[in-house]
């Protein structure tokens, strides 16, 4: 496989920008475009661009600092964009936070091993010991940070561990603790949570019980960025299943596992593939 790069741009929408970008990619970066997506949010007159490319000449990969290209500087002056270049062969380091249920943990590990998730799983951290054997079996470091009452201390230990492992992203794989405002701010845009309800319906605790009480005919799960306001973060991915009329809450919970593991994987994948732009509380996926 030849090396691949992703160029991401966000800026105020202006005509001509696509021609300028593809011209720069070809003439200056020597990039052969594999795919190109863009979106203009007309409400906010904002332009988003994502391009995956491969260098025509492998011997001259794109420079990490795009500002070294005079043409890039020129365009940057005109469009005042927010630009990022990613080498897609560098797998982002992802920490998994779990509690006692294992279906999301298994799924994240298996989908990473298959190559579906472009991740370097660096550690599994938990407030319980329950899932340690799974981490061990797959050769992942596991650390237990029990919830002893001093929540701040527990979270500090956990965060220290994230730093030790060089974690760049965190997947909350049914981690049943609420993270502090400080934590979510420090890790803003890098923590992906799975909520077992179809947000914005059924926020908070026991969403399947809420859904059963309300008598909905379809249940869902939501992958979203963790923010200070619980279950209010930008939504990455959602999935649903119809529920049968004779299902109890237990049936909802059982069936819900499959959509929970689906949405955490898909949400994390979109994030790791650099396809997500955050804007006005929405996650725009290219």
């Amino acid at each position: 496989m030849p090396p691949q790069y992703a160029l991401r741009i966000a800026c105020a929408d202006r005509p001509g920008i696509l021609a300028a970008l593809t011209g720069f990619l070809w003439n200056d970066l020597g990039g052969n475009i594999l795919d190109l997506n863009h979106y203009t949010d007309d409400e906010n007159a904002r332009f988003f661009f994502l391009c995956r490319f491969t260098p025509l000449n492998e011997a001259s990969p794109p420079r990490a600092d795009l500002m070294e290209y005079p043409r890039f500087r020129e365009l940057h002056e005109i469009y005042e964009w927010d630009a990022r270049l990613y080498d897609l062969s560098v797998k982002p380091r992802v920490a998994l936070l779990v509690s006692k249920t294992d279906h999301c943990l298994y799924e994240l590990i298996l989908k990473t091993r298959e190559g579906y998730l472009n991740a370097d799983l660096c550690c599994v951290l938990s407030n319980h010991e329950t899932l340690a054997p799974i981490a061990r079996y797959f050769g992942l470091p596991f650390h237990h940070f029990p919830m002893t009452g001093d929540r701040a201390a527990q979270e500090a230990n956990l965060e220290a561990s994230l730093r030790d492992y060089g974690a760049e992203n965190v997947a909350l794989a049914r981690y049943m603790q609420i993270l502090s405002a400080g934590f979510t701010q420090r890790w803003s845009g890098r923590v992906i949570n799975v909520h077992h309800g179809f947000l914005p319906a059924f926020k908070g605790a026991r969403p399947y019980h809420q859904a059963w009480e309300r008598g909905v005919k379809i249940i869902g799960a939501t992958a979203h960025y963790a923010t200070e306001d619980l279950d209010e973060g930008p939504i990455l991915y959602q999935d649903v299943i119809p529920v049968k009329n004779n299902w109890s809450v237990k049936g909802f919970i059982e069936a819900g596992r499959d959509i929970e593991r689906k949405v955490i994987v898909e949400g994390l994948k979109l994030h790791l593939d650099r396809r997500v732009f955050l804007h006005h509380g929405r996650a725009i996926v290219l």
Copy 2:
């Protein structure tokens, strides 16, 4: 087609009831069971039963008043049930309330003509004249009750018209007016509304705008019984579609039409087929 009947029972759950019911159906009613569904809500220890049957001997259909059967009286004493017998060849009379958009109106009419909905559409009532030609084309009475400021008077006229046509049920096919508490109480359990949002998310006005702002990845529509509390009535049917990342609110509205017409038809069908039991704010569908 031989005549078909539906027997519906709701009562406190007790062992042996199914044997008693099928025995009565066979020995006393002479009914050949076509299908039989039951559900026990374990939370509330409540039993629900629905059976469609055809008389073995067409010359002796079941008596309309089941209390004429001694065995039925015996069982009724034991189980203290709420029992109803319906002759399914009698099509319930349904009034359609509409405003200006036509997709739900067309769908309800076409699905009735196909025989998918077992309904006798008795009239189309509206606060606008816009859809009169459609009603006329399909040979349905149309009446225009404009909203002149005096809401109570408008609703009174509308209700008088429902009575004139002998309407037993009402489908709100994108009728863009809020019905009074009195109206919904008088017609309790007989008015089916379509809400263009995935309830309980996005209640109230402009649900597609709300959904776009929140950045959901799936949108939905909900058929529910109209109650005094807007968009809080028991849910009959829901459907959803994924939304693409580059859709504007206009795209949501356009795509939403298909799920709106789907849910109003399916919700009304469940109701007309006598498959719905209301209990503790939930619509239990057998």
Copy 3:
């Protein structure tokens, strides 16, 4: 709404083509790109490109003959592409061929009136009189070409009528006659059929009966281009629904109507929006 155009390109895949195309679009056509899609079929090293754009200066729309642009001629020499420019405000003329069932006819008409289909419905032609009132109600010319035994003569009359109305495309909306090889060749790539089976399973007659016999758990319908080989043409769109275990063939047929009308509309829409490229028997949709 400002005018919109679509530029379509197909050619052998070569690096740099996207930059060249977007450059030409901007510098020479003065086009502001609304959306841009491309696909490279790696098996066949073939590149496909579709771009919707609007002229920055409405007073100078793009010239209909792109060869008048020197830069276009230059690029054409290099890439030897097959290029087409479409003015999207010109609605393609579409003839509807029907027999006796009305659900696809209603759907095509209603979706056109809503503006979902960018079509100018020019006539409804049929081998039966059954659906004439529907055409009349919606103000569409209707012609009856009965099947009297001389199939060639019937088809000749039908084709003459298509020419009279200037039909550019034909939608077979449950037209229950097989078209001759000559017809499908003359109208190659312009006739869209709906087959009531999930192709390539259940080709030919009575696909719902075949599906029931085989005991499948999901049924489908397929929109495809009509070709000489029945039900073998390139597939545009497919949709499916699960079937319940107690459904008879009649249940399959009833439920199938909704997916039939869905696929004929979506298949025709893709075609009319100029999004389809035919290559090696596949319909590539951008």
Copy 4:
């Protein structure tokens, strides 16, 4: 949890049978019905019945041999049915046959451990050593029967192993060998296979390649009973996913894994829950 039993009946359809069965269940077996499903295949005038029940008095479970009940013998004489009683607390012994790909193996094991599958996994058998570590990790016996050229001998060894472990059912979890006619006959109705295509389309080898070549817009997988005629056995469960226009065959294969593991689990579950009746080549699921 109280003990649960399943009573299954298949016979020629005759009126009154449901009343007779529920009466017997209540009066003679002392069974409290949990759920009851029935289906009449009108084409073949055949009646199918499945009832899950729990004994009212746990001290007197139903007798294993129903012929010990005089009332049962009476009814049996009238209806000439094929009747089976299952104690659902007895988990059927299931052997897993695998080759090199692990996603179906993991899924079957994890869904069994969750309790979703009511199975006693007794062994993992394979023609390759690749997946031995997974079996070992989960504490399952693993045996390697390499394909050395003598297919009959390999299969004989494999079958001996199935007998040694007392396997009652076999799940082919992407086992990439064709079983002999003798094997499928001896294990008729007890071997569940997953085919990675939407049967009856794309039988045989490389179904994803076939699907890509044909240009379908939806792909599927099928769980079916293995029979002498490859991919012709009764279908238990099917699932599908839409494919994106720019996916290569590799994309089909990658996305297909999720539906393969889904259908093998759901198909096996229906079988183990005793919900499947085979009749005229169809799998009727109650």
